[in-house]
Symmetry: C2
Subunit: 263 residues, 2 copies
Amino acid sequence: MSIDNFSSYADCFNEISQNVRKITLNKSILENNYTIKKDDSPVTIYDIEAENYIRKYIENNFPSHNIIGEELKIIDKKSEYTWIIDPIDGTKSFMSGRPLWGTMIGILKKNKPIIGMVDFPELDQLWIGHNDQLILNGNDCHFVEKENITLNNAIFASTAPELFEFLNLQKINAIINKVRINIWSGDCHNYILLAQGKIDLVIEENLNSWDILPLIPILKSRKIAITDWSGSEISFDFKTQKKFKVIAACKRNLLNEVIQLLN
Amino acid sequence: MSIDNFSSYADCFNEISQNVRKITLNKSILENNYTIKKDDSPVTIYDIEAENYIRKYIENNFPSHNIIGEELKIIDKKSEYTWIIDPIDGTKSFMSGRPLWGTMIGILKKNKPIIGMVDFPELDQLWIGHNDQLILNGNDCHFVEKENITLNNAIFASTAPELFEFLNLQKINAIINKVRINIWSGDCHNYILLAQGKIDLVIEENLNSWDILPLIPILKSRKIAITDWSGSEISFDFKTQKKFKVIAACKRNLLNEVIQLLN
């Protein structure tokens, strides 16, 4: 995919996110239209409606591409391109009025994420990442890098203690005892703070492919180190759709420090 | 304090919050100017600078009033009016770039909070509560009330599991197992979501007077039920400055349900 194509994909993300905002920002607090999924997480009518719109957009504009989304069935057209959709990442924040939820879309080429977007409607922030470019609301972002970050001066974020397996939570608590600051909640917003240099470390367990793959081009554009808990690259397999244990850190040395503590 | 005085106090809150924003929004992510306090919580130079400005404003405009603030010494002039200041509630969010931290100021008359403000600079939301009036950015707010909220369909929020004593966290976990949704983090922002009817229940332990008293006029303006864990009114004692265990719930029946589970 050439950089010319990238700008047309960025235009698509702009158009999609504007239309999805019309759906998601329409939420009434009196509505109770949600169900609990097999994995015990909630899904609202807005998740479904947003994903339906995004799929229709992709099918109209890129009819040969594959589609994976959180709420609906895989469409496998044997293309080398796959769109991966999380219509509302942070559904609990969305349902609670906390403005940190986001709409995420990634494009994979031969199972590698090459472009990713996260849109935060309530914060009016559309982030797009591709190669070494990170774009916020149409403008290139440049951040000064922090130096000398190790575990004992790091700011650590993770979505919820309940999302870790029991024995792993003990390891996470040991990490919390070492860091400078830890903060719960946040979902995809934590990774955007990491890309901006505002936090230093995110560790998560049990992430689905749509929870993490759209973020990877954004993180890589900022040279954030991201691997699974064993230090291997996050690798996507269309068939198995396995869950991910993720470490994302502002520096490789910090990531290595964490791998040692988790294994 | 008459309602005429209220509008002049609201003008003061407007002026104060605009000037405090100039201090707090000036934060550079590369700065590391913070210390850890006796209670293990962080304080930044911005907390101190903001509180200094607010105290100077009060001393210039209300020289006879008492002042209590999170970061500096009590000023006791034996007035029946006391200003209570939390320059940055949610310092961990502030340090991490999460936009949910707020500046809180309350005015107590004979130890009862009668006016309260919370300003969220990054969300551009200044909330002021007094009697049955809740004002957002200068406009009266009206919300439709939700009906039939009990524990099993409630949205529950609390700042962090680490803030509860060990045995109390077990009770909180039992509550989490009963509610529809639970969400960590949030500090003062959770109470504003409660006032808006977006979440239903907040439970906290180890709150200081400045963490909760400025919120009480805001919550009472929306008829939110708020007591300590034994069901007693949150009562402030200038001398003892004791810590609070707080339950705030959208409905009295929900609060009663929680009191039973906590005792």
